[in-house]
Amino acid sequence: MATVEAHAPATAAGHRRTGIWDWITTIDHKKVGILYGVTALIFLFIGGLEAMVIRTQLMQPDMKVVSPDFYNELFTMHGLTMIFLVGMPIAVAMFNYIVPLQIGARDVAFPRLNALSYWVFLLGGLFLYSGFFIGQAPNNGWFGYSPLTSLQYSPGLNMDFYALGLQILGIASIMGGINFITTIVQLRAPGMKFMRMPLFTWMAFVTSFIMVTALPVLAVALFFLTFDRFWGTNFFQASAGGDPILWQHLFWLFGHPEVYILILPGFGVVSDVIPTFSRKPLFGYAVMVYAGALIAFIGWGVWSHHMFATGIGTIADAFFTTSTMIIAIPTGVKIFNWLATMWGGRLRFTTSMKFAVSMVAMFTIGGVSGIMHAVSPADLQQTDTYFVVAHFHYVLIGGLISAVISGLYYWYPKITGRLMSEKIGNWNFWLFFISFNVTFFPMHFIGLLGMPRRVYTYAPELGLGGWNLLATLGAYVMGVSMLLLAWNLVRSLKKGKPAGNNPWQAATLEWATSSPPPEYNFAQLPEIRGRMPLWDNPDAYDERVWKEPEGGVHMPNPSYWPILTATGIAATLILFMTHLWWAPLLGLGWTMVCVFNFAFEPAG
C-alpha cells in the first residue's frame, strides 16, 4: 500500500485508486467498464428526457410544445442516443466488467486499446451532442436517408455532426470488438473451453464479431456521405447517376446486424440470470450457443426488409421476407429454452429475475410484431407508422433495456460489494413493467389506425387523441420508474447490504472472486472442469482464488496515451468541419504522434 515505484508490481488487494487522474489513465477493464456504464446511463437519461418531450408534444393533436424543426432534432437524437450512446456502450460496459471475470482472465487482451475505445466513444458522443449547443443537431432521423442528407436539402451543419459523430463512434466499436474477440479466444483460464463459457460471454463473442464486420460498412457509407457534403462527390447525387437507394443498402447492411448487436448481449444476460434464479443449468446450452451464432449469421441476410417500401422487386421481397422469418426460428428456440430452464426450477423472484422474465415475455411480443412486418405486403401497410415504433420499442426496451436492468441488479453487488435494495427494486420493476406496456401497447393501434411516425403532430380528425394521451401518461410513469432505478443505484453504494462473494449462489466464475474483485481479478484458479464451476465443485473456490499472493501480482501500468490518442482520432474527423482540406491532416499528425508513443510505451 505504500508508494510503489513505476516498475514494481503495481497493485495490492484493496489498493483502490480513485482520483480523477486514476480514472483518466486507467486501463483496468473493470474501471473502463464502470466508465462505459456510467456514461451510457447518463446518456440513457438524456435520451429518456428527449422521449418525454416527444411524448409531451404528441400528448394531444395540434400541440405546440416544440417547433417542427426541433421535433426533428429530438426524434433523431433520441434514436441516435439510444442506439449508439446507450445500447451499444452499455453492452460493452457489461462485456468489459464481466467477460474477463467469467473466463478467468486478469484483463482484456489489449487493456490500453480498451481504454482508447472508451475515450473515442466518449468524445464521439459529446461531439454528436454538441450540435444542440448551436441549434443544429442531426435532424434527418438516425437512418439519415439520402437524398434528404444532401447539401441541397440539409444545408445546415446538422448532418455534418451526424456523419462525423457516427464515424468516431464506429471506430470505438470496431476497436472494442477486436479486443473482446481476442480476449475470449486467447485469455480463457485453463480448462475454460469454448463450450464451457457462460452464455453471456458467448453472446459477447458473437456480438463482437458483428461489431467488427458491420461497423466498417457504416464507415464506408458515412465516408460517402461526408465526401458528398464536404467535397462535392456524387455518391448519392441522382443528377449525376448516383443512387440514393445505395445509401439505404449500405446503411441497413450495417443497420440490421446492428439490431443484433443491441439484442444479443441482452439474450446473454437473461441466459445467465434465469439459470441462477431457477437453480438449474441453462436448458439446451449448446443449442443456445448455436442459436445465437445463427441469429448473427442470418442477420446479415435480412437487411432489405427495412426497404420493402422502396420497391426492390418481387424476388427480393420474397427473399428477404423468407430470410427474416427464418431468423425467428433460432430466436424462438432461445425463448423456449429460457422457459424450459425455469420449468421445475427453484424459482427466486428477485428484482433481477423479474426483469429477466419480463424480458422474455416483452421481447416475444416485439418478436411477433416483427414477424408481422417481415411479410412484405403487410409491411407496406405498417411501414412508417407507429406500429413499427411499437415493435422496436418492445424489442429494445422490453428486450434490451429490461435485460440491462436485470443485469444491473444481478452484477451490481459484484461491482460495488453491496446489494441494491429489493424493496425499491420491486417498485422499480412493477412501475416499469406496467408503464412500459401502457406507453407502447397503444402504439400498435395508433399505427394500424394510420398515424405516421417522425411527424411532429397529428390532426384531431384522426381520432387518436385518447390513445396518445394514454401513451404519454405511461411514458411519464416510466420516467419515474427510471428515476427509482437511478436512486437505487446511488443509495445502494453506501446503504446497500454487504454482498459477499456470491450473493445469488450463482455458478459462474465471476462469483468466485471477491466483491468488488481485486485489480488482478484472480490470484489463482483451479482447472475449470465444467460449465457450472461453482455448483459442481464449490470447495475448490476458496480464498486462494482472490487473496493476494506473496509478492503481489504484476499488472500493467496506467497510461495517458489512450485518452491522448482518442483526442487525435476525434480531432481528425471533427476538423472536417472547418472545410479546410489540410485541417484534418493536423488531427492525423497528432494521432500519429500519439500512436507512436502508444506503441513504444514500456509495458510496465
Binding site: 487482451a109 489489449f110 470496431i174 470488438g177 477486436i178 479486443n179 474477440i181 481476442t182 479466444v185 486467447q186 485469455l187 480463457r188 483460464a189 475454460m192 467488427v212 464486420t213 458491420a214 461497423l215 466498417p216 460498412v217 464507415a219 464506408v220 457509407a221 465516408f223 460517402f224 465526401f227 467535397w231 462535392g232 462527390t233 456524387n234 455518391f235 443528377s239 449525376a240 447517376g241 448516383g242 443512387d243 445505395l246 449500405l250 447492411l253 500519429m592 507512436f596
Partner: protein, 197 residues
C-alpha cells in the same frame, strides 16, 4: 522455436497463438468488410456515370500493371524481411525492410502520377460517378499503403538502432500481415477497376 523465444515476454494463451496476431487477424477481417463495401460500390456504379470522362478514356493499364507488379514484389521483399529477422540477420532485415518500403513508396509515386494525369484529363472527385468512386476507393487504398510504408520505415529504424532482434519477429510478422493484406486488396481493386470490362 518461436513459442519458446516468446515464452518469457508473453504469458501462455488459451490457443497458444500470440495474442497480438489474433487481434490483428480480427482487424484484417474488419478491413475486408471496409474494402468490400468500397469495391461493391464501385461495381454498382461502374456504368453509372452520365457524363465523361469514362474509364476507357483515361485508364492507363501499362502504368498500373507496372505499379501492381511493384507492389507484388514488395510482398516478396516482406517475406524475405521476416525470414531475415527470424534468422537474426540484421543486415538482411535492414535490406529487405528497406526494399519493401521503397517499393511501396514507388507504388505510391505511380499513384500520385496517375491521379495527377487523370485530373488533367478532367477526371476529378466531382466530375462524375467514376471520379467519385475511383478516387475514394483507390485513395483509401493508397492511404493504407502510406500507413504501411510509415510502419515499415519505423521497423527499419528500430532494427537499425538495435531495438528489434530475432525475439521481436512477431512485430515484423504482424506488419507483414498488414502489408500482404493491402497487397491482396490491391489485386482485387486492380482487377475490378482496371481489367473488368
Amino acid at each position: 522455436m518461436e513459442a519458446t523465444s516468446h515464452a518469457a515476454a508473453h504469458p501462455p494463451t488459451a490457443t497458444g497463438l500470440p495474442t497480438l496476431k489474433v487481434g490483428f487477424w480480427t482487424f484484417l477481417g474488419s478491413e475486408t468488410l471496409f474494402f468490400g463495401a468500397l469495391i461493391s460500390t464501385f461495381l454498382v456504379y461502374k456504368h453509372g456515370s452520365v457524363s465523361g470522362p469514362y474509364a476507357h478514356e483515361v485508364i492507363n493499364i501499362p502504368l498500373t500493371s507496372f505499379s501492381t507488379f511493384v507492389l507484388l514484389m514488395s510482398s516478396l521483399c516482406m517475406v524475405l524481411a521476416l525470414a531475415a529477422v527470424q534468422k537474426d540477420s540484421r543486415k538482411g532485415a535492414l535490406l529487405w525492410l528497406f526494399m519493401t518500403a521503397f517499393l511501396g513508396a514507388t507504388f505510391l509515386g505511380c499513384q500520385a502520377y496517375e491521379f495527377t494525369s487523370f485530373y488533367h484529363e478532367g477526371l476529378t472527385l466531382q466530375s462524375n460517378l467514376l471520379g467519385s468512386t475511383f478516387f475514394v476507393l483507390t485513395g483509401f487504398h493508397g492511404a493504407h499503403v502510406t500507413m504501411g510504408v510509415i510502419w515499415l520505415l519505423t521497423l527499419w529504424f528500430q532494427t537499425w538502432s538495435g531495438r528489434i532482434g530475432s525475439g521481436d519477429a512477431l512485430k515484423v510478422e504482424v506488419a507483414g500481415l498488414y502489408w500482404h493484406f493491402v497487397d491482396i486488396a490491391w489485386i482485387v481493386i486492380f482487377t475490378v477497376v482496371y481489367l473488368l470490362e
